[in-house]
């Protein structure tokens, strides 16, 4: 990985990925918007250095339904010293938000919780029924 701090232009380009669904930056922006969090909190969620966020945003967004999802998430996380589990979870949550938004529901914090619930495996319920 390039260890130099990101240039001003790189930061600018990274900001502009928020509106381009091809880039990971769009997912990170959706997640930040839904949670109402800033970059320092986002870095904490991903267990990475805040300085790495610009380069992270410029990666191609792995497709949560793609066969290579796990491999791609791991490659990105490894490069930028982030948690692959957290990144995968974030991408799944955003995909759930997008799916529900397409169904016409708003993107509020409560809505995000509902989205997480919807994607969470139902182990607890299964245990209850035993």
């Amino acid at each position: 990985m390039n260890d130099k701090p990101p240039s001003r232009l790189l930061q600018r380009a990274a900001e502009r990925t928020s509106e381009r669904v091809f880039f990971l930056g769009s997912s990170l922006a959706s997640f930040q918007e839904a949670r109402g969090i800033d970059d320092s909190e986002l870095a904490r969620v991903l267990h990475c250095d805040q300085e790495n966020l610009a380069r992270l945003r410029l990666c191609r967004r792995p497709d949560v339904d793609g066969a290579a999802f796990q491999v791609e998430v791991r490659a990105i996380a490894e490069r930028f010293h982030a948690s692959d589990l957290s990144l995968a979870q974030l991408l799944r949550e955003v995909a759930a938000i997008d799916a529900m938004r397409e169904a016409g529901q708003p993107r509020t914090a409560g809505f995000l919780m509902a989205a997480r619930e919807r994607r969470r495996p139902r182990r607890g319920r299964h245990r209850d029924s035993q």
């Binding site: 390039n2 380009a13 381009r20 992270l56």
Partner: protein, 214 residues
């Protein structure tokens, strides 16, 4: 010489074609600043404007999204991105020129009582679902934008008041039919309605004076 033989960015291009998720980030790291240096030489008078940064960023991001559009046998990647950014700068300058022309036109309309009255009459007429031909070409053009912003007779009346420079909450509250609410609720309702109209007009390229919408 065939650019393919000398282009140092071909390995990244290949990775983009193979959909390597890290390739766009590596590309940006490697090439953004180099493209900016070249574009600044083309537009030295804009060297300190964000328009150059944004155009270079968009050119690189756009290429990362669609790498197959670049043909390495024709020119180097650096030249391709410089050309692309140059096109974006020219488009942005053109858009800026059009925006300025529109703002000047609207200022003229605002400063001319006669023109304002005609524009105001036109908004009223549209609200009544009638059609009027406004003679002066600039007013016709701006009126078309205003027309597009009117989705109900109430919209037409509110826009008419805004153009007239009306600022009294009670006048808007009358139009909106909320005079029976308490003053705070009236203010809130009027502000929400005006904000919505203002956003719609802005999207259509009709910037209203701040005083008209507060």
């Amino acid at each position: 010489m065939n650019p393919e033989l000398t282009d140092p960015y071909l390995p990244i291009h290949q990775r983009l074609l193979e959909r390597d998720p890290l390739a766009p980030s590596d590309l940006a790291d490697a090439i953004l600043d180099q493209v900016l240096v070249r574009v600044r030489k083309i537009f030295p008078e804009l060297a300190h404007e964000t328009i150059l940064d944004d155009s270079v960023a968009d050119a690189v991001l756009g290429y990362a999204e669609r790498p197959h559009k670049f043909d390495p046998s024709r020119l180097s990647l650096l030249s391709y991105l410089t050309m692309s950014a140059r096109g974006d700068v020219l488009n942005a300058l053109d858009a800026r020129k059009r925006r300025r022309r529109r703002e000047v036109s609207l200022e003229l309309v605002e400063e001319s009582p006669a023109a304002r009255k005609r524009l105001s009459d036109h908004a009223n007429t549209v609200a009544a679902a009638d059609e009027t031909v406004v003679e002066q070409a600039e007013i016709v053009r701006i009126s078309a934008h205003i027309e597009a912003a009117i989705r109900s007779p109430m919209d037409g009346r509110v826009i008419h008041l805004l153009i007239d420079g009306e600022r009294r909450t009670e006048v808007f509250a009358d139009v909106l039919g909320v005079r029976d609410l308490d003053p705070a609720a009236q203010r809130r309702t009027v502000k929400q309605y005006k904000d919505r109209i203002k956003k719609r007009l802005e999207r259509l390229g009709v910037p209203l004076d701040e005083r008209q919408t507060t």
